[in-house]
């Protein structure tokens, strides 16, 4: 019981990071929150599947991404005209985003999802390549090459990063 409470407290603390990752997938604040909601419900229903000693955040990123992929698929099946990422609501929803942030978000939005997820999970969320590989269900070598391509594309758009 205490254990459950502790996990739930950790889940609440994770919500801002889950929203941030979900936004990078949906590129839309409202859709991102829906995805996070679905993911939280799923996670709560199967806390027994989370293995103690493994990272709760990695497990939640996996569920967030799969919830989003499910939603994309079912939208495609329903043939709706509201695909994810089709508008620019995301940027408008932030409180006074800096110009720099806007530029980075736009550059990120141009990346294919698989590169974008690698960049988000490794560079923004701080996962190791191995942890990102497990979240995305791909080999580590693939994370490395996707990350390299994503970083290169970002640099091409944003200009070189000088230390």
């Amino acid at each position: 019981m205490d254990d459950t409470k502790r996990i739930q407290r950790e889940l609440v603390e994770l919500i801002p990071r889950l929203r941030r990752y979900a936004r990078s997938l949906t590129r839309n604040v409202a859709d991102a929150d829906d995805v996070v909601q679905v993911a939280l419900e799923k996670a709560l229903g199967r806390l027994d599947q989370w293995q103690r000693g493994t990272r709760l955040d990695s497990w939640m990123f996996t569920i967030v991404r799969n919830s989003w992929l499910d939603e994309v698929r079912s939208r495609a099946r329903r043939d709706e005209h509201a695909p994810f990422g089709g508008d620019s609501e995301l940027v408008a929803a932030y409180a006074g985003p800096a110009e720099e942030t806007l530029a980075i978000e736009e550059a990120m939005a141009r990346l294919p999802e698989e590169q974008r997820s690698c960049v988000m999970l490794v560079l923004v969320e701080g996962l190791s390549y191995k942890e990102a590989a497990e979240v995305l269900g791909i080999p580590i070598g693939t994370v490395t090459s996707r990350l390299a391509r994503g970083r290169e594309a970002l640099q091409a758009v944003l200009g070189p990063d000088t230390g």
Binding site: I15, R19, D33, T62, G137, T162
Partner: protein, 256 residues
């Protein structure tokens, strides 16, 4: 050893072993441009982290917080120790610490045990069977491997296909998991058979006990399976297009 950009990136990200690190550092001493490249990778990480940091300070909508907190009030969610699965888990941990060929051989013999046990029960169509050169997929698994595409297979398929890739020998290989027998493996197209190069029993338990979407899109393959794919893969896993094309050519490698 050639110092390519990817290696420098791994160095900058701290994703490199001691030997590689020493090599990169020696090369950087000789060529200052390499050091600048590493600094650029680190600056880029910092720049991105900084740009996305403010999002964490935004207030969390009540509806999201309440989902978690009210679940607490209603019924304590199940927290089950994986006691009954502990055997399988320990086994997996052991396999994980072995080198790949060794793990493969042992796991294959384990799977053979599963196979024999299954064949005692039914006609053996379901599992793996002994071929002339080792284990091959039985009829059910072989049929799924030959016909299913990861992107279109039904959620509740009895055998699900995960990643498709080309191995170092230029063969097309696919990961599969059979729910009923909790069997995960890698099979490569060889002649008219699917040769099973790795089979793990009992590993499907943690993430696929129900048909839920935690395990979709080939995600959540057992880590030891991914590790084996990593060791064997040439290039990247097939995307949906390449997968469909490979099926058309009966899973013969595009490069052969």
């Amino acid at each position: 050893m050639q110092i390519d950009d990817e290696l420098l990136m791994r160095y900058a990200d701290g994703e490199i072993d001691a030997v590689g690190r020493a090599r990169v550092e020696a090369a950087m001493l000789a060529d200052p441009a390499l050091g600048r490249r590493v600094a650029a990778f680190r600056a880029q990480r910092e720049r991105l982290a900084k740009a996305f940091a403010p999002q964490l300070a935004e207030p969390v909508p009540d509806r999201l917080r309440l989902i978690v907190e009210q679940a607490q009030a209603a019924s304590p969610a199940k927290v089950i120790d994986l006691g009954e699965r502990r055997g399988a888990k320990r086994l997996r941990q052991r396999i994980r610490s072995w080198s790949w060929p060794e793990a493969s051989a042992v796991a294959a013999s384990l799977a053979l045990g599963v196979l024999v046990a299954q064949q005692a029960g039914h006609n053996g169509d379901d599992g793996l069977r002994a071929g002339p050169g080792g284990l091959v997929a039985g009829r059910t698994i072989a049929k799924s491997l030959s016909t299913q595409l990861a992107s279109t297979q039904p959620e509740n398929a009895s055998v699900r296909v995960g990643l498709t890739f080309e191995n170092q020998h230029g063969e097309v290989c696919r990961t599969f998991s059979q729910r009923k027998a909790a069997l995960d493996g890698i099979a490569c197209r060889s002649g008219n058979e699917w040769r099973v190069d790795l089979a793990l029993s009992g590993s499907a338990d943690a993430s696929s006990t129900d048909s839920g979407s935690v395990r979709t899109a080939g995600s959540h393959l057992p880590p030891e399976l991914l590790k084996a794919v990593d060791a064997q893969i040439r290039g990247e896993p097939f995307d949906a297009g390449a997968e469909a094309k490979a099926r058309q050519s009966d899973w013969r490698s595009p490069s052969h």
